[in-house]
Symmetry: C2
Subunit: 134 residues, 2 copies
Amino acid sequence: MQSSELSFSISPSSGVPIYRQIIDQVNALVVSGRLKPGDALPSIRKLAESLEVNMMTISKAYARLEVDGVLTRVRGVGMVVAEPDIPTAASVKERQAELRPLIEQAVLRGLQLNLSNPQIIAVVESILRENRNE
Amino acid sequence: MQSSELSFSISPSSGVPIYRQIIDQVNALVVSGRLKPGDALPSIRKLAESLEVNMMTISKAYARLEVDGVLTRVRGVGMVVAEPDIPTAASVKERQAELRPLIEQAVLRGLQLNLSNPQIIAVVESILRENRNE
DNA sequence: ATATGTGCATTACTGTAGTGATGCACGTGG
DNA sequence: CCACGTGCATCACTACAGTAATGCACATAT
């Protein structure tokens, strides 16, 4: 169990809650493939100390990530990246339905900004392009 | 000033704040063209009474909508739908940049759900199709 | 068994979002 | 001018998110 040398960084005064910043960064690492299933994450204590925040803050973030199926917690051992393939329990349609409200919020904002359909889709594709490093 | 007969509906126990529900519904009405520039909205008192909430809750919602450039308040008269064309102050690129974070959040969630690029774009297009009634 | 590493449960403090009650200021119509 | 309809400012209350301090439970290595 060598130090994975994961570099987390937070800005406590960015308005975004600390635990949310942790969640987003772990998610990004997993989605992009830099963290693979079975990989260990920094222990709650280590990470809390290095970021100078309370352990519970990290713990809550890890807990949320476990509920989301991203991590698996193993008491006495540590947090580990979960298998990514299990969640195919839900069909594509169901997952799309789950995603829909989030997309809707964003798209309506785009319409409100008076952007055309192609202009909105261009933003979507640009973001997809950035994150298909897998 | 006839009754515009606008039908707002809220579910106080839906988790979504009341003022946010008002904002979203007004936005939807304006974006879809059912409310046109110059149209009057229900007065704060009337709407508050019909929805059985406090005036201030409606007032806050309207205030936010004014900041967003959707409505114009006229004291002693009421709230009126603002002109939609003014905001072309910002270039397409700027408006796309403003939209980007929202889209990004949604798209990353889609990737996390293990949806393919076309599957995500399909959701976007479906929503765009629903809202181009203009 | 014991020491030391894990994560967890409990409890508490604090800030802020959300909502509300009340009285005031502005505009319009008589 | 006066009455009535607008929206607004102020203050206050409540619930909950976010963070933290502390002690406990489990797993592993010696």
